[in-house]
Symmetry: C3
Subunit: 155 residues, 3 copies
């Protein structure tokens, strides 16, 4: 159990680092080919509503998303800084780990303004393969139902 | 020492998760029957002032507090999201661990507003029993002396 | 590798605790005699600009800085609360570890106001000696280019 927690912790750290460093092209590599990525709100999640603010059900869709972000470049420039709690290992079966992790994301705008952009939980299913762990599913459950229209970079 | 740090880390994570998930009824279970729970300010703490904004000296009082929160329900609905630093093990004796841990709590109001609600230190005395660690004492020392009147959910 | 990550994590925790507890006189002890300490911005760092908002190239300069902070006492009283991500071990050679760590610093002013003061990365070179790790170099790369003129306490 301990080694799995350490592995998940390491992967989460790498994930946050990837986005915060602006290396968006590497972001889809954290996911399995066959994956679900969804951003939703705590209210919708607790009601069992399926729709999310953002939804992708393959790694290809994540790649498309990154490409369109890079090409369109319509969003005001900004960067994120992620802070993650310790992963909570919910269950561990053969080759699959379910975990939940609190996140806090600060957003730094081009003019230097820094705010608390989002807080919430990652509800994850990791597929283990050898020493690696890929996301089979990541549901990003934001605490707040108020979304900035700038929602652009991945959480 | 390392195992103790890991245990305390795990319990702190569970504590934060309990409150952030809104499972208030489970919160008193983190405390020993004979316990002290106090919320105070850094100024008062450094002056040795005993009074706290909130004070309880038994697990029963914590249960009462949760019950009254649930029944009265007079506070504006909101949720917390805790972020904790690594616990600092101050001392470890037979069956007792003293630790200090930085905390940061974001508060998310019903309308979606998110702010930095409180920062500070948990100054803890844990009683160890078998593999479990219960809080014999938690003094929540807030950095700021400005308290929101909404102070309601446990820190 | 794991032990090194644990050591760096422990030292970072002690560093944050030192500043947040206001024990500035102990802060230079985290550095090697021959050291670089610099605070700069993400923009300047990525452009390779050498100048920093704050610069010191010996532990003596850090001691001087603390002394002048204590004597002058011109800054409005405030405290920091640091939150650090897990250190990312970039490389590990004989007696030297390079690591990068996300930080988030909340600032609590005398009147109780709390804000997100700074976010960014520590880009560190640690010199290992026995069980100890001293900073040979710490470059504090702030995400925001907007610096409060109050920049006074070390980051």
């Amino acid at each position: 159990m301990k080694d799995v927690a350490g592995l998940i912790n390491h992967v989460q750290n790498a994930y946050a680092r990837c986005i915060d460093d602006g290396d968006l092209e590497a972001w889809p590599d954290f996911f399995d080919d066959d994956c679900t990525y969804k951003i939703t709100t705590s209210d919708n999640y607790s009601l069992g509503l399926e729709a999310g603010v953002i939804f992708a059900n393959s790694r290809g869709m994540l790649l498309d998303r990154v490409a369109s972000l890079r090409e369109a470049n319509i969003y005001e420039r900004h960067v994120y800084r992620h802070f993650l709690g310790q992963p909570w290992i919910v269950s561990q079966e053969a080759g699959e780990v379910k975990s939940e992790t609190s996140f806090f994301v600060a957003r730094i705008m081009r003019d230097g303004t820094t705010d608390v952009y989002a807080t919430g939980r990652y509800i994850d299913i990791y597929k283990l393969n050898g020493g690696a762990a890929k996301l089979r599913e990541r549901i990003v459950v934001c605490d707040s139902s108020r979304f900035d229209t700038l929602l652009a970079l991945p959480l």
